[in-house]
């Protein structure tokens, strides 16, 4: 791998640009040549194969232009947006980062969203609905509300439901969740949409401590992302 390719790849990744590193792996005498795709200078069929690999988010070997290529997909990190800089968020942020998520904390209460509590984590102290309008969560985003305060959680959930986020979770008991759903319904969200919200949030592992609750939440996020079958929770 040349320093130029490595640099371009690092640059694309830092800019959250979806790219594919194509490496010729066979025949042996021509192995090692690389393109960073999309690249108009690369064979068209290689660019097309890269598009398909990006869309499927899956690295693969393909035959193109008379050779065998490995297409290494570098999609931007999936995002984890946490509304509420609470104790559980302090555990969610590092475990989420370890799982490959790019983590953002949203909390207008500066004493919660402080760099001392979240060293090295992206922090936003604007109102959750405004923050989410700017963050523009996509289908590779997970959003979890953690404040227990309807003034903060509800506007965030309203925006989350209007986004294609693959996961929406809300911390709170079954009873709190029922009340929350009623408030969101009053905002105009109908039932099939409301069912997108995972509440109570996280897998049922009898979690007690903040890191355990974070683990339960992230386990559920991973399960949803990877399409695992998870047991339905008992009806609320």
């Amino acid at each position: 791998m040349t320093p130029e390719i490595l640099k371009s790849l690092a640059h694309a990744r830092a800019g959250h640009q979806p790219v594919v590193l194509a490496t010729r792996i066979a025949p042996a005498e021509a192995a090692g040549a690389q393109y960073l795709l999309p690249d108009p200078a690369a064979p068209a069929e290689l660019n097309a194969a890269a598009d398909a690999a990006l869309a499927a988010d899956s690295s693969r070997t393909v035959r193109a232009a008379g050779a065998e290529w490995f297409l290494h997909v570098h999609n931007p990190s999936p995002r984890l947006i946490l509304v509420g800089g609470v104790h559980i968020a302090q555990a969610l942020a590092p475990i989420g980062a370890m799982l490959g998520f790019s983590v953002t904390i949203v909390d207008p209460r500066r004493s919660f969203a402080s760099p001392e509590r979240f060293p090295g984590v992206a922090l936003r102290t604007d109102w959750p609905d405004e923050a989410l309008d700017e963050l523009r969560p996509d289908s590779r985003s997970a959003i979890v509300t953690l404040t227990h305060d309807p003034k903060l959680d509800d506007p965030a959930l309203d925006r989350a439901l209007k986004s294609p986020a693959f996961y929406i979770g809300a911390l709170g008991s079954r009873r709190t969740h029922q009340a929350r759903l009623a408030r969101l319904a009053a905002l105009g969200h109908a039932q099939p949409a409301l069912a997108r919200i995972h509440g109570p949030v996280g897998l049922s592992i009898e979690a007690v401590t903040a890191p355990e609750i974070a683990l339960a939440i992230l386990a559920e996020i991973v399960a949803v992302r990877r399409g695992a079958e998870i047991g339905a929770k008992a009806a609320a």
Binding site: M1, T2, P3, L6, L9, A10, R13, T23, I25, A26, A28, A31, G32, S58, S59, R60, T61, F70, H72, V73, S77, P94, A97, M98, G100
Partner: protein, 113 residues
């Protein structure tokens, strides 16, 4: 402070770590899973970085072929030539370093210039 404490995401971002090692002046080879069949523990795209001084990060399997891949990486660091390694039951090398899970996989090894 370890690399992981600097950035927990680096447990999966082997390429960034390999690039940093290269910048530090290390000779680095990068091994990438390019294809798997059957029950292989790590998907295509999984990487293992190895340096001339013996540092190692990442994985290409559950641990069954890392040793053999590290040997091939050392060879690629010396020769500069990339290699496509074939592991699995159809390969005679399997007797030495086959996949216990019964899977098959290909691993591409290249040197960071």
């Amino acid at each position: 402070m370890s690399d992981l404490e600097n950035n927990p995401a680096e447990i999966e971002d082997i390429l960034a770590l390999a690039a940093r090692w290269r910048e530090e002046g290390e000779e680095v080879a990068l091994a990438t899973v390019t294809e798997t069949w059957g029950s292989s523990p790590r998907p295509a795209g999984s990487q293992l970085a190895v340096t001339g001084s013996g540092r190692m990060a990442g994985s290409v399997s559950g641990g069954c072929i890392e040793g053999a891949v590290a040997d091939a990486a050392a060879e690629t660091i010396r020769s500069g030539r990339p290699r496509l390694l074939d592991f699995g039951i159809s390969n005679e090398r399997a007797w030495e370093v086959g996949l216990a899970c019964g899977g098959k996989m290909k691993v591409f090894v290249e040197k960071l210039a």
